[in-house]
């Protein structure tokens, strides 16, 4: 879960008279992550040490002049570069006190911005679109500059990034309501123009933000209607398109922020990492219509991860450098540290899920083909599209699902599944499953295991779409369906995972053997156990079906196994049956997060925990044998998974009884090593245990009965 930490003030601001503009021209990172140089829109640039909240030095241009481009720091030469009065490039060092005595050069055309990305060289972007390296420009300051842009075209925003191969300048322009993205590569120089798809008429992007990953530039832009689009541009793109007509830039809607009644005015969205976006000036979905919020959204799961109300007016300005957000608001510039840990779906959906309406499932991430197919034709609104796909299941179908017998429903669903023309499978299948599950829950007699299994097998469902499915399967003791869900759902909450574990462990072995389960998991366990019982069978060349797939390495493995057998180690006995073990393995491999799982593991009874531990111990011993075919099945739990959950249990047990720890410690040396690795992680849960212990305080006097054995 991403989080915004407690912020602090870096400096005060002098907002413009009309209070529409913060008075800040820009913030650039200086020598390291703790230093920034803040340029005011008037005459002053100041260097701050962020952690000390303290200015280190400040430079001012003369009265009557003004800085028109934010000062940047050239790490290679330790010099600052800024532009005053559009045409005068100024370069100075930290020890220079007076800016007027430092170097300056007047160029022939108006400069839009100087950029100096980390690891790159300073580049100058002229207002008419030409780009020059600062060094070459200063060699002949009065050299003529090209008119790259059209007559009425003007730059709206620009940045510069350094990729593995070259440095490039990215800027967006506006021409009569159309927006273009220009990608200027340097050394060799080439310019690529892209045309941004039009949003609703009259709307132009409020803010842009770029990030670079996997050889693609990712451009993120926010429209006043709250839509955040993402476009990917390959850095390797051909230079052939230079000068020719602008290509259309495909985009995908990654967030549709709630905007309330009116459009956004001063807002900005900044990419934090590949899953998180920081947004300012957009209303918080849980709070009223006020727009004074800084929020972090998870784009993968469309969830609000953290929000903070900022005092004073927001100006739609936001910068992010090395886990700190810089946000001007009111009359201050605040620094807000943030953290964006990798999140699993369950935790991402956790806290603020209710903030979103049910119907706003992520729209399908389909690139728009409209332009290709229909030229410049205006794209129909997204919502209409969704409504269309949902209507794939007709009302008659729904009626049938609600009333017909199980047999008929099965046929109907099969029929639906065979249809090829489905566009948004996920949503419609989800709807189908929800209907079936809710009917099954309402009518105890109605249950369609095979249909549900089929639906799960499509791999289009997840727990979030159909939250009651696993609970239903558990209630109906349909462990095969449970197994499938655990396999295919990436987002089962830990409480349900634990409920499954509990159900599986308490299942009598005899009943378990009668179940028909997913064969891959079962065969994995059969091999594991047959190695234990029947070594000869393996030596005689018996291999199970899944072993046959592994042509490479299996001979070697067998040879090693023979050696292993020759040494004849003591074989542990699997404490549970094959089927039961297969089921438990599914739990072990389910996605869980330690903090959420721990509280629920406590609910297991001690017998169950012991059995579970014994099974984990068995797995360990099997895994620690070198000959074990580690990779032979997809449905075999990884050693880490076994180890982790083992420790969770182990520590939960500590609450009850210390000796179980000894039990585990004695089991293998591997465990011991891991034990210490895991200690830190589990510290917090230990504290919880301590708190629990304190609660059972006995007071000043009690009469108890104890027994010694």
């Amino acid at each position: 879960m991403a989080a915004l930490c407690e912020g602090y003030t870096l400096c005060g601001l002098v907002p413009a008279q009309n209070r529409l503009c913060s008075g800040l021209r820009g913030i650039e990172e200086e020598r390291d992550s703790d230093h920034v140089i803040v340029t005011e829109s008037t005459r002053c640039a100041t260097l701050y040490k962020v952690s000390d909240q303290k200015p280190l030095s400040s430079w001012t241009v003369k009265q009557g002049q003004s800085l028109t481009s934010s000062a940047v720091f050239n790490t290679k030469t330790s010099e600052y570069v800024a532009v005053s009065d559009n045409k005068v490039i100024r370069i100075w060092k930290e020890e220079d006190i007076l800016l007027d005595k430092a170097f300056k050069a007047t160029v022939s055309a108006d400069v839009w911005m100087v950029h100096c990305p980390r690891g790159g060289e300073p580049v100058v972007l002229f207002q008419r679109g030409d780009v020059r390296l600062l060094d070459s420009l200063l060699a002949a300051p009065h050299q003529p500059v090209q008119e790259v842009l059209a007559q009425e075209e003007s730059i709206r925003w620009s940045t510069s990034i350094v990729t593995e191969m070259q440095q490039m300048v990215i800027f967006t322009t506006e021409l009569k309501g159309d927006h273009f993205l220009c990608l200027q590569r340097l050394n060799p120089n080439s310019l690529q123009r892209y045309h941004l798809e039009r949003e609703e008429p009259g709307l132009s992007p409020l803010s842009f933000s770029t990030s670079y990953r996997d050889k693609h530039i990712c451009l993120l832009y926010l429209y006043p209607n709250g839509h955040v689009y993402e476009s990917l541009i390959s850095v390797r793109g051909s230079g052939a398109g230079e000068g020719s007509e602008a290509l259309s830039l495909p985009r995908s809607l990654i967030l549709s922020l709630p905007v309330g009644d009116d459009l956004l005015e001063a807002a900005a969205a900044v990419v934090l990492d590949d899953a998180h976006v920081a947004v300012v000036g957009v209303p918080h979905p849980c709070a009223g219509p006020g727009k004074d919020f800084l929020c972090i959204w998870n784009t993968n799961f469309q969830t609000l991860q953290a929000g903070k109300e900022m005092a004073g007016k927001l100006y739609g300005q936001l910068w992010s450098y090395s886990n700190k957000l810089f946000i001007p608001h009111g009359k201050t510039l605040s620094v807000i540290p943030f953290a964006c840990p990798k999140s699993c779906l369950a935790s991402a959906l956790g806290k603020l899920k209710q903030a979103r309406a049910e119907d706003s499932r992520p729209p399908a991430l389909v690139p728009s083909w409209n332009n290709i197919l229909h030229g410049e034709k205006h794209q129909p609104p997204k919502t209409a599209e969704i409504r269309k796909t949902v209507s794939w299941i007709t009302d008659e179908d729904m009626c049938l699902l609600q009333t017909a017998s199980a047999e008929e429903v099965k046929k109907e669903v099969e029929g639906l599944l065979t249809r090829q023309d489905v566009q948004d499978l996920q949503l419609s299948l989800g709807q189908l499953a929800v209907t079936l599950v809710s009917r099954s829950l309402a009518e105890p007699a109605f249950y369609t295991p095979s249909t549900l299994q089929q639906l799960v097998h499509t791999q289009c469902l997840c727990h979030s779409i159909c939250p009651d499915l696993v609970a239903l399967a558990l209630e109906k003791k349909d462990y095969f369906l449970c197994q499938l869900c655990l396999q295919f759902f990436p987002d089962i909450p830990e409480v349900i995972t634990c409920a499954c574990l509990k159900a599986f462990i308490s299942l009598p072995d005899a009943d378990a053997e009668r179940l028909s389960l997913e064969p891959d998991g079962v065969s994995f366990m059969q091999i594991l156990i047959s190695r234990e019982h029947d070594q000869v069978g393996l030596q005689n060349g018996f291999t199970s079906t899944s072993c046959e797939d592994e042509d490479a390495g299996s001979g070697q493995q067998r040879r090693r196994k023979d050696e292993e057998n020759a040494r004849n180690p003591p074989e542990p006995v699997c404490p549970v049956g094959v089927h039961k073990a297969a089921l438990i393995n599914e739990v072990l491999q389910a996605a869980y997060s330690d903090t959420f799982l721990l509280p629920h593991l406590k609910d297991l009874s001690s017998q169950h925990v012991i059995l579970f531990l014994q099974y984990l111990q068995f797995l360990y011993q099997q895994y620690s044998l070198e000959a074990f075919p580690q990779k032979h099945s997809f449905r075999s739990p990884s050693q880490n998974q076994v180890s982790w959950i083992g420790f969770a249990c182990c520590w939960m047990l500590k609450a009850y009884c210390r000796t179980f720890t000894d039990l585990l410690i004695e089991s293998s040396s591997c465990v011991q090593v891991k034990l210490f690795l895991q200690l830190g992680k589990i510290e917090s849960s230990l504290q919880q245990i301590n708190e629990m212990k304190v609660k059972e305080d006995v007071g000043a006097y009690s009469i108890e009965v104890i027994e010694l054995f």
Binding site: I610, C657, R658, T659, D662, V698, G699, A700, Y701, S702, I703, E704, V705, I706, E707, L708, F709
Partner: protein, 685 residues
């Protein structure tokens, strides 16, 4: 079989007193600790840190300084007296007024011939140590301001004195001050006008002087030139105490923050020439001021306001992962402060200045193991008895029938007759035999007809008590010429025997009817910490500071077969690793083979029938046994049934109705009564 109803008691508000000062005698390996209430305790470091002697303090007698001179122990305090202790009879031997106002420090020269005392009036007074007393010799030249700390140069030719704002070096021969070392005032304190107190000085053989002061500095001085060599700023608060290792290669400093900082004399580079004092380690063993420090060859011993005595071995001096390398905290006294009247269901709690008599509560019916029974009647405080006089209580006893109560101070013994039936009454027995004057242990016989009191010269006095009358009967004299005090008295349940143990390690058994010595148990190297005579088999069980258990048959006058088996096989390593001594041995009349033992962290039933645990056996196996079936349980159980769910135990005793009385003193309750520690800034608060 092993099911007990337990009265779990946490209302004994025993509060240990803060440690004020310590001194270590490296020849006898005895550590002496003085507490804020004036009590002086002696720990035997050679015998598992056993607290073998306690001399109770008295009101208005705050010990400020302690000093060993050979085997003799001197103390001085703000009452202006220098006191020598009688370590055999556990009382002050003589006191001498120094006539210099409150005494802040005393220190003896390494030859043990002179004792220097630093006084409030600015004098350092020299006393000659004579055979039986000390005699004032002369004053060193008088200074302005009090003398807070003193340290002799090992040759005895010079003496350094810590004062306010300065350190003076005196020539011991002439008595003149030769150097004046000015100590800078606080670097960090807001008021610069505040005087800096040199709390501690150390004078090393190479004429280096090390000082610790109230400005939080440890300073290294050159004592020959009188110049400051180096300053280490340790804390914003005070550096209260310094201690030097015997080889002078290491110095430790205790601060108000509860930390102990070590400095070592080492060369910064490989070549051995330029050694300097380098700050090396910081130990944080205390929550409050560290007031007392001792640096032994292998360990740092520290104590302070949080009342705990902490022995922290230096890991470069001891073998790692041995018992020697384990840190020890001694929190509770190694003797019993609780007496139980087994028949009457009464408890007597001993505090330093009063006694409390409680009646146990009652519950309805029975319950399953693990249950907490409803309390029908709450425990009731019957009597709170304030001690008479200024001396603190050193021992107390309650008769098994609940009819008699006795306590002793250093100077007197008091005996009371109790009536607890309908209206509670307490009557002092007015005339006590004159033999009962100096007593350090008391006990009643099981039929409550006799009072036993250990007295001077390792003797035990027997007196009969009956109807508000106390008559002297006999004095048991030790057969040997040992003069060590008797610290354990254990009358047998059948009334025939009295077992005594003294701190010399001797255990004698006397026949109470014939009033003569019955036998002596062979002395083993370690001091007994608890002894008791079995009610049926007439064998004596003794537990020693080294955690060994012996059983000696009084009939055959030899160790029993079980005891020999135990010695042959050896105790389980985990049993030997426990760091608290067993302080009570009792027996279960229902199960004659059971011996009940307890220390502060566990109680244990030793079943003599069951096989002894071997080295590889799981020793703490109660929870494993619990999960096994009955048959399995029998096969897996061993003789030591250790129950560890009760912690910080001050008493575990078996009452006549076979219920256990467990008195716990949770550490949190002690901590909550301590004064607030110094304010420490945490993060950005």
């Amino acid at each position: 079989m092993g099911e007990f109803k337990v009265h779990r008691i946490r209302f004994f508000n025993h509060m240990p007193s803060a440690i004020r000062v310590m001194a270590f005698n490296s020849h006898t390996e005895r550590l002496v600790v003085a507490r804020a209430d004036g009590a002086v305790e002696i720990f035997n470091f050679a015998d598992n840190y056993y607290q073998e002697k306690v001399i109770p303090g008295r009101d208005g007698k705050a010990v400020e300084a302690l000093c060993w001179v050979g085997r003799r122990l001197f103390s001085a305090g703000l009452d202006g007296e220098i006191t020598e202790y009688d370590l055999e009879n556990l009382r002050p031997r003589n006191s001498m007024e120094a006539y210099g106002g409150p005494i802040w420090t005393i220190s003896s020269n390494s030859q043990g011939t002179l004792l220097a005392a630093g006084c409030e009036d600015g004098t350092v007074k020299m006393f000659e140590v004579l055979e039986d007393r000390i005699q004032f010799q002369r004053n060193l030249s008088r200074q302005k301001g009090r003398i807070i700390s003193l340290s002799w140069h090992p040759t005895g030719s010079q003496i350094a004195a810590g004062m306010l704002d300065m350190i003076k070096i005196f020539d011991a021969e002439t008595g003149h001050a030769t150097h004046r070392l000015l100590v800078e005032r606080g670097l960090q304190r807001t008021s610069n006008s505040q005087e800096v107190v040199v709390w501690s000085v150390a004078f090393l053989s190479d004429h280096t002087i090390i000082s610790g002061d109230s400005a939080g500095k440890v300073q290294i001085w050159d004592g020959i030139t009188g110049t400051l060599v180096r300053t280490h700023l340790l804390t914003k608060w005070d550096v209260l105490v310094l201690a030097v290792s015997p080889d002078e290669s290491s110095v430790i400093a205790g601060t108000s923050e509860g930390t102990v900082v070590q400095f070592q004399f080492i060369s910064s580079t490989v070549d051995q020439q330029d050694k300097q004092w380098v700050r090396t380690r910081t130990f944080k063993s205390h929550s409050h001021d560290v007031r007392a420090l001792v640096h032994t060859d292998t360990a740092v011993v520290s104590g302070g306001v949080d009342t705990q005595l902490v022995v922290r071995p230096l890991l470069d001096k001891v073998e790692k992962n041995t018992q020697e390398s384990a840190m020890r905290k001694i929190i509770f006294p190694h003797r019993n402060l609780v007496s139980c009247a087994k028949k009457a269901g009464l408890l007597l709690f001993q505090f330093s200045d009063h006694l409390e008599l409680w009646r146990l509560g009652e519950s309805d019916g029975n319950g399953k193991p693990g249950d907490r029974l409803p309390v029908k009647r709450n425990p009731e405080k019957l009597i709170q008895l304030k001690r008479k006089g200024e001396d603190n209580i050193c021992c107390s006893a309650l008769s098994p029938c609940g009819g008699w109560l006795a306590y002793a101070t250093v100077s007197s013994v008091r005996l009371y007759r109790l009536q607890l039936d309908n209206n509670i009454s307490i009557n002092k027995v007015s005339k006590l035999p004159k033999e009962l004057n100096s007593v350090h242990q008391l006990s009643f016989s099981s039929d409550s007809s006799k009072l036993f009191a250990s007295s001077i010269l390792s003797s035990v006095i027997v007196a009969s008590v009956k109807e508000l009358e106390c008559k002297y009967l006999h004095t048991f004299k030790p057969p040997s010429d040992s003069r060590q005090p008797v610290h354990l008295l254990s009358p047998s349940e059948d009334g025939n025997w009295l077992a005594t143990a003294n701190t010399g390690g001797e255990i004698h058994v006397f026949d109470v009817h014939k009033l003569k010595l019955h036998c002596s148990v062979p002395v083993c190297g370690s001091c007994p910490t608890a002894v008791s005579i079995h009610p049926f088999s007439c064998s004596l069980v003794s537990v020693h500071a080294d955690q060994q258990i012996f059983e000696f048959s009084l009939k055959q006058k030899e160790f029993t077969a079980w005891s020999r088996k135990l010695q042959k096989q050896g105790m389980h390593p985990l049993w030997l690793q426990r760091d608290a001594p067993i302080t009570r041995v009792t027996f279960n009349p229902n199960n004659p083979t059971h011996i009940l033992l307890h220390d502060t962290s566990m109680f244990c039933i030793v079943d003599q029938i069951l096989p002894l645990p071997e080295e590889k056996t799981r020793f703490y196996n109660q929870s494993v046994l619990q999960s096994l079936s009955l048959g399995e349980r029998l096969r897996n159980s061993h003789a030591f049934k250790v129950y560890r769910n009760f912690q910080n135990l001050l008493c575990v005793d078996l009452m006549e109705d076979h219920s256990l009385v467990v008195v716990e003193r949770p550490l949190l309750d002690i901590v909550s009564q301590l004064p607030a520690p110094v304010q420490q800034k945490k993060f950005a608060t």
